[in-house]
């Protein structure tokens, strides 16, 4: 399929698309997000990296309001996230999310997984949705599996379907929360390849991952989180070769040893 219609939003390339200002979130007494300021521009690929428990998943989940937050603001394309209800559902449709555990709908076929959103949320005609879904499944390389059920696919294939399911909503930005960490090593690359392809096509992406190869190849920026704060925000090259903070040095030391 052509590259058109991948990054559809009112925002021009390079304009701020996702903007977080002073976002704070607690889980009980635990301060998981501390005054987060982050701007992701149209077409940019931001890789989020950091130790376990530093708040990376929570950051992603707050951006599409799977989690609430207490103070600060999050805007997408200049629009503040609505509180709840229909407006929020519509806005969520605009923010794709890919989870570590794929989360495909197990009682639906691969094709139905992808057409569900376009038909139910975007009110697309079933035949148009089917055409779109088929195209997207082709593009992520699982076109021939369309009539199978998720349990019949490998992890790597399921994750690629999950990406297609998100893409079918024509999101303006996509969030990936450790999309390859539940995969067997031999399947990691097939998923990363799809993501690189997407990045090249101009999709705005926020990707939580420890895959440095991906960060170097596709990332425009690396954001390093530690204990709920953004500690560094730099280009991948600079971050990996010349980390500024001790925490980042320490963390890189740990992941580079294996």
């Amino acid at each position: 399929m052509t590259e058109t219609g991948i990054a559809e939003s009112g925002t021009a390339p390079g304009e701020p698309l996702v903007v977080l200002k002073g976002v704070n979130k607690h889980f009980g007494d635990l301060h998981v997000l501390k005054d987060i300021d982050l701007t992701v521009h149209q077409g940019e690929v931001v890789v989020v990296i950091g130790p376990s428990g530093s708040g990376k998943s929570t950051l992603c989940r707050t951006i599409n309001r799977l989690e609430t937050f207490e103070s600060g603001s999050i805007t997408i394309g200049g629009v503040e996230l609505p509180e709840e209800g229909k407006a929020l559902a519509q806005l969520r449709a605009d923010v794709g999310m890919v989870f570590q555990s794929f989360n495909l709908f197990h009682h639906k076929t691969i094709l139905e997984n992808v057409t569900m959103g376009p038909v139910k949320v975007r009110k697309m005609k079933p035949e148009d949705a089917k055409k779109l879904a088929t195209e997207l499944l082709e593009r992520v390389g699982v076109g021939h599996q369309a009539n199978k059920y998720p349990a019949q696919l490998s992890g790597g294939q399921q994750q690629r379907v999950a990406i297609a399911r998100s893409l079918a909503m024509r999101p303006s930005v996509m969030l990936f929360d450790e999309p390859t960490s539940a995969l067997d090593p031999e399947m990691v690359n097939e998923v990363l390849d799809v993501m690189v392809q997407l990045a090249k096509a101009g999709m705005t992406m926020i990707v939580v991952t420890h895959e440095m190869g991906f960060a170097r190849k596709a990332g425009d920026r690396v954001v390093f989180m530690s204990e709920g704060s953004i500690v560094e925000d730099n280009t991948p090259e600079e971050f990996f070769t010349n980390p500024q903070s001790n925490r980042a040095k320490d963390f890189l030391g740990k992941i580079l040893t294996h």
């Binding site: 519509q90 989870f99 989360n103 709908f105 569900m116 949320v121 059920y149």
Partner: protein, 225 residues
């Protein structure tokens, strides 16, 4: 035995049991699903209403529910649930019996459905939300279909319990199997064992296929994970 069956009109008693079971099953499935939805909703008051309902009805003896339905709705409030004709009294008792059976078993249906919901990985509801499905769409397309398929066995157990629990409505004089049994014991205490045997056999015939059917269906319908 045949003589017993004929003299006490046993077949119409069995038919009454079957009718009670079917109507009550349908009603409690609908009400129970509704209460399960309340408990799943993100709104605290609704969750509270749902769980209060379940707590109250699960912990009240069925006999009490049946008698209460009769005394409160009909005697006290004077609400009419049947037309005033020749079968007025029977109709009233029959409908109130169903109402009571529905109210009581809905609590168990609700819990069975919730156990079905627990078979669904939490991430699925989140994925559904993240593609923009509303709460209602999420329930209809993602959660409930999988919950029912995961709840076939517990729902079957509720249905079997319900079939046997219809005997309790003898308390308000609905002429089903246990009502017939009581009359047989009264008039033919000489053949007590035959009477008990007949009643036991009846319930085995009614419930055994249900057990087999749900066992088969639960495997057939299980969502492959």
């Amino acid at each position: 035995m045949l003589e017993l069956i004929e003299r006490f009109d046993f077949f119409s008693a069995v038919w009454m049991t079957v009718k009670l079971t079917l109507w009550a099953a349908l009603g409690s499935l609908i009400l129970g699903t509704f209460i399960a939805v309340l408990r799943l909703s993100p709104i605290k008051v609704l969750q509270w209403a749902g769980s209060t309902y379940v707590t109250v009805f699960r912990n009240t003896p069925l006999t009490v529910v049946v008698v209460a339905a009769n005394l409160v709705i009909w005697n006290q409030l004077g609400l009419e649930v049947a037309a005033r004709n020749a079968t007025y009294l029977d109709d009233t008792n029959f409908r109130l019996a169903i109402l009571a059976l529905v109210a009581y078993h809905a609590a168990f249906v609700c819990e069975a459905i919730r156990s079905g919901v627990n078979t669904i990985p939490v991430g699925q509801a989140e994925a559904a939300r993240s593609i923009g499905l509303t709460f209602g769409q999420n329930l209809r397309h993602i959660i409930l279909p999988q919950a029912f398929r995961g709840a076939v066995t517990p729902l079957g157990n509720v249905l079997i319990a319900l079939t046997k629990n219809t005997t309790v409505v003898t308390a308000i004089g609905v002429a089903q199997v246990s009502h017939a049994m009581r009359r047989m014991i009264e008039f033919r205490s000489d053949v007590l064992f035959t009477v008990f045997g007949l009643v036991a056999l009846t319930f085995i015939v009614l419930t055994l296929p249900l057990g087999i059917l749900t066992g088969w269906a639960s495997e057939k319908l299980a969502v492959k994970r």
